[in-house]
């Protein structure tokens, strides 16, 4: 029995429709009624229908819940990808292996297909060269295990497709023997160091540290940390609440600070005398462009520019170590 539907519209990511004008979603849901044509609208989304409700109310569509794939379903879907020259039995054993390793962190079919495709050549290599029989699963597993473990470390990152990935895996043992990455910056470093660290100019590093201190220390504690004292207790602090009751600033997130405060802290923590040149100000802007600081209040408010530091503690700590500066000594939460 046909319903006489002439045309189907499928909208993916339908939750974006909520951001548009209110009338759009309700009109789309009544598309057949408004146009008088035999059309059908299908909306797919990650969110439940309750999140779509508006104060004006929406006509109730037919809700279909698509459950997550079970392990057998994943195996049969992945088996559809089998290349024609691979034996079915062999491939299903391979898929079993892949699923047992990766199904715990990752159930996304796209990722699993990508991983299966990326590791297949490596798995088949000993069979093709004749060293191992196709049925000897133990030896095959031992051959492919380190490769899978390396892939497990960067499961969702998709940083390399098969060719570049294979190249880095073969370069790994060679690079471990002679660490000469200093001379050849072009070689891809398979460890995590190059992924996370950037090389900043000297004063930019101190500006970043100063921004971190300004964001995570309350303004009242500046006097205690950054003013040189002669020992007389002229500014005694009032009794602070015990450490358990205080909410750690690291949990609440960074606070906004004005530019003057940043520069004042910067001039204190840099040991040598720095002249307030235009380069310092332009470095602050560069840090904003690199998304290490963010500027609040819009760019037309020149007087009171407020900033916030977006870098986390580990990065600041590693940067401070390169300039021999102890960040913990100046942080309110650590004292």
């Amino acid at each position: 029995m046909s319903y006489g539907i002439g045309c189907y519209y499928v909208l993916e990511g339908a939750e974006r429709l909520r951001d548009l004008d209110e009338g759009v979603l309700s009109s789309l849901l009544r598309l057949q009624e408004l146009t008088g044509r035999p059309v059908c609208l299908l909306l797919t989304s990650n969110l439940v229908w309750d999140k779509f409700q508006t104060p004006g109310g929406l006509p109730q569509p037919l809700l279909v819940h698509f459950p997550q794939y079970s392990r057998e379903a994943l195996q049969s879907i992945l088996a559809l990808d089998r290349p024609s020259d691979v034996d079915e039995q062999f491939y299903s054993g391979y898929l079993n292996l892949i699923l047992s390793v990766f199904v715990v962190p990752c159930r996304n079919v796209r990722e699993l297909r990508h991983l299966a495709r990326a590791s297949l050549t490596h798995y088949r290599a000993p069979v093709l060269s004749g060293e191992v029989a196709p049925t000897d699963l133990r030896r095959l597993w031992r051959h492919v295990e380190p490769h899978l473990r390396a892939a497990l470390r960067s499961v969702y990152l998709r940083e390399a497709d098969s060719a570049q990935w294979l190249r880095t895996q073969t370069q790994l043992p060679a690079a471990a023997v002679q660490p000469s990455s200093h001379d050849q910056p072009g070689i891809l470093d398979a460890t995590d160091h190059q992924r996370l660290n950037t090389e900043l100019p000297f004063y930019s590093k101190f500006l970043l540290i100063a921004a971190y201190l300004a964001s995570y220390n309350p303004a009242k504690s500046d006097r205690r940390f950054f003013v040189k004292r002669t020992g007389k207790g002229a500014g005694r602090l009032k009794a602070r609440p015990p450490a358990g009751a205080r909410v750690s600033a690291l949990l609440t997130g960074p606070r906004a600070f004005p530019l003057d405060r940043l520069l004042a802290i910067f001039y204190v923590i840099v040991e040598d005398r720095v002249a307030p040149t235009a380069s310092i100000y332009s470095q602050v802007s560069s840090l904003v462009t690199l998304r290490m600081l963010t500027r609040l209040g819009g760019s037309d408010n020149l007087d009171s520019a407020k900033y916030k530091c977006l870098v986390n503690f580990d990065t600041v700590k590693s940067i401070a170590k390169t300039v021999n500066f102890e960040v913990e000594r100046y942080l309110y939460d650590f004292v």
Binding site: G13, N108, Y156, A160, Q194, E199, T289
Partner: protein, 655 residues
């Protein structure tokens, strides 16, 4: 001069390897049969943002030449919304090869409502199809058809030269500056068109590879297949540039120690920009030729003769007055000095000495490279980790007198035979290209070290029996434990002082090497006539290269004669106020004398008194209010609620 060609060559070479790899990847990117994932080359450029313009311009040129004509370069400043981004991208991709007439303003149909062009004649506007993705698809397929059906040639030739589909490359110049929402939407849109349009991306990332994952959620980044390409580190580029341009033998101009240190500080402390370094270097060169009269002799060696001929009497006197020349002349004998008083003889002497400057610099470089190679393998980088630090040290101080030099030779005298061989080989490699006497010396030394025997010399039978008798005698003569210990120690020292042949050779070799290096490494400020080619006047250029806005403003307000260069405002001492100064300066200096809160009325009365106007002059109030508003704009005062008619001072101190 040859500077611009040298720097241009250098800039071309800097990114050669990385671009080559990237272009190969992009050329192959049409063939990738992934499930609608966009091949993406992530170029990690580093934080030196002033250099990025040049880099991406040369990348776009190479892409247009070697990969495809459809290249679009997107910048964050012009892509604030998805609509603007798509429009820019499609317009650039479809404009490949189409020359537009620049006079006629071109307007898209969907832009008509919000365009602000004030074109009087409506019909003269050229209409184009709106810049959307379906238009791009249509344009691309039309372009492929025209390319794929050549009119002439046999069918076999046509089949052989049938082109593959050309990829469409979109370059995102500064990825971190884009709005994340715009980037995500564009990636989703392009990945859906991937089956019809072979789009590839190039991401220009300044910080590190994880920036891509920070900007894109997982369901978006799953549609990209990322390839990382690292460009050279900025410090690496700087080292190469110094080698190829600053130290090049064809360059007659040299930087002095302080100037080089200023330029290196700007590079290392502020921005990692090689372009800014090159501009600063050119500025130093400009200042040298503009302000230093001795720079007439800074030229190629073949032009030197005619320059010396053209020297006037005043210029010769100037040359005679140079500090290095005066020091040299003082060392000479009385008669020689007397003969050089004559201008003609002096000119000949100049012609004799001037070419030596270049050869002395070459010698300095050879000696320094040898020394640097020797110290690189020793613990604790004595001369720095990079050659430029050693070079800077040699320019600033007399290197052989320094502690670093002495310590180097101390450490060298403790090396074993294998280590010394390796070190000497390293040093030989560093100087072998120059063909100087030092390389032959090193080669002979290396041969001798390889041939020598470093086993301890065997003790002959006679000597050992002699020793035993000596020990027995000492034991008999010893009166106390103290004297016995002393005599045994002196005997042991005497025995150890007899070195094996390797150690004697080592000390001899090092003494020879030391002598040679001392002859080569001479500080440039000791050479006569070095002021002609070496520029070291840092104070002249520092203000121009490193801008200090606040101190400039304060100087201008406190001492206007410095910038206006008028005779009426010359100040005796810094704090005095003259009525002829501009109003703003008077108001500024008066406010310096006040405390934290300034009473406006008193201030105005003081202003009136200084300017010397009568009480009923109405314009004084207007002038004063104008100046107060300007001071507030400059950030020296601000209005306050604490007291009425008062303003608060924002800066401290007086100047």
């Amino acid at each position: 001069m040859a500077t611009s060609s040298l720097t241009k060559d250098f800039q071309e070479e800097m990114f050669n390897t990385v671009f080559h790899e990237m272009i190969e990847y992009l050329q192959g990117s049409v063939d990738i049969e992934e499930d609608a994932s966009i091949p993406t080359a992530t170029l990690i450029t580093g934080v030196n943002m002033p250099d990025h313009t040049g880099v991406f311009r040369s990348l776009a040129e190479r892409l247009r030449a070697q990969v495809t004509a459809h290249v679009a370069v997107l910048e964050a400043a012009s892509c604030a919304t998805v609509q603007a981004t798509v429009r820019t991208m499609v317009r650039q991709l479809t404009a490949a090869g189409e020359p537009l007439s620049p006079d006629v303003p071109v307007v898209d149909e969907d832009e008509e409502d919000d365009c602000l062009l004030d074109v009087p004649d409506q019909t003269s506007r050229q209409r184009r199809a709106p810049a959307t993705m379906p238009a791009l698809v249509a344009h691309y397929e039309a372009a492929q058809e025209t390319v794929a059906s050549p009119k002439k040639g046999s069918p076999r030739k046509r089949a052989r030269t049938a082109p593959q589909r050309r990829p469409l490359v979109v370059v995102w110049r500064d990825l971190e500056a884009f709005q994340p929402r715009v980037l995500q939407d564009l990636v989703l849109i392009c990945s859906q068109y991937r089956s019809r349009l072979p789009i590839s991306f190039v991401f220009g990332v300044s910080t590190c590879a994880s920036a891509v994952h920070r900007l894109l959620p997982q369901h978006v980044s799953a549609r990209l297949s990322l390839h990382k390409f690292h460009s050279q580190l900025a410090t690496h580029c700087l080292a190469e540039m110094i080698d190829k341009v600053l130290l090049s033998p064809s360059m007659p101009f040299r930087l002095g120690g302080r100037a080089l240190r200023l330029l290196l500080d700007i590079f290392l402390y502020h921005d990692f920009s090689v372009n800014n370094f090159i501009s600063a270097y050119k500025f130093c060169m400009l200042s040298h030729f503009l302000w230093s009269p001795a720079s007439a002799l800074c030229c190629e060696p073949n032009q030197l003769e005619e320059r010396v001929e053209e020297l006037t009497g005043a210029q010769v006197a100037g040359l005679r007055a140079l500090p290095s020349v005066r020091a040299y002349l003082d060392d000479l004998e009385q008669e020689e000095r007397h003969t050089l008083q004559h201008d003609g003889v002096f000119k000949e002497w100049v012609l004799h000495m001037a070419p030596k400057l270049h050869s002395k610099h070459e010698e300095l470089l050879v000696g320094l490279r040898c020394l640097f190679a020797l110290t690189k393998r020793l613990p604790g980088a004595l001369l720095g980790k990079q050659f430029r630090e050693a070079y800077n040290l040699a320019l600033l101080h007399a290197l052989p007198e320094r502690d670093e030099y002495k310590r180097t030779f101390q450490l060298l005298s403790m090396l074993s035979r294998q280590e010394l061989t390796a070190t000497l080989e390293h040093a030989l490699e560093a100087v072998s290209g120059s063909g100087s006497a030092l390389s032959t010396v090193l080669r002979t030394q290396l041969d001798r070290v390889r041939a020598v025997d470093d086993r301890p010399t065997p003790v002959s039978a006679e000597e050992s029996s002699q020793q035993r008798r000596l020990v027995a005698d000492t034991l008999k003569q010893a009166t106390s434990r103290q004297s016995l210990r002393e005599s045994l120690q002196s005997m042991g020292a005497a025995r150890n002082a007899r070195l094996n042949p390797y150690e004697t050779l080592r000390s001899a070799l090092l003494a020879e090497l030391d002598e040679h290096l001392r002859g080569l490494i001479v500080q440039p400020s000791k050479w006569p006539f070095n002021e002609c080619v070496v520029f070291d006047d840092v104070s002249l250029v520092r203000r121009r290269l490193v801008g200090a806005p606040r101190s400039s403003v304060q100087t201008a307000l406190a001492d206007p004669a410095k910038y206006l260069q008028c005779t009426c405002c010359q100040l005796g001492d810094a704090a005095s106020i003259r009525p002829t100064m501009p109003d703003l300066c008077i108001v500024y200096k008066l406010h310096l004398e006040c405390g934290r809160l300034i009473n406006l009325f008193d201030w105005m009365q003081a202003f009136r008194a200084v300017v010397g106007a009568s009480d009923d002059d109405q314009t004084i109030q207007a002038r004063f209010a104008h100046c107060v508003a300007e001071l507030q704009f400059l950030g020296f005062i601000k209005s306050t609620q604490r007291k009425t008619d008062h303003v608060a001072r924002l800066t401290w101190g007086s100047c």
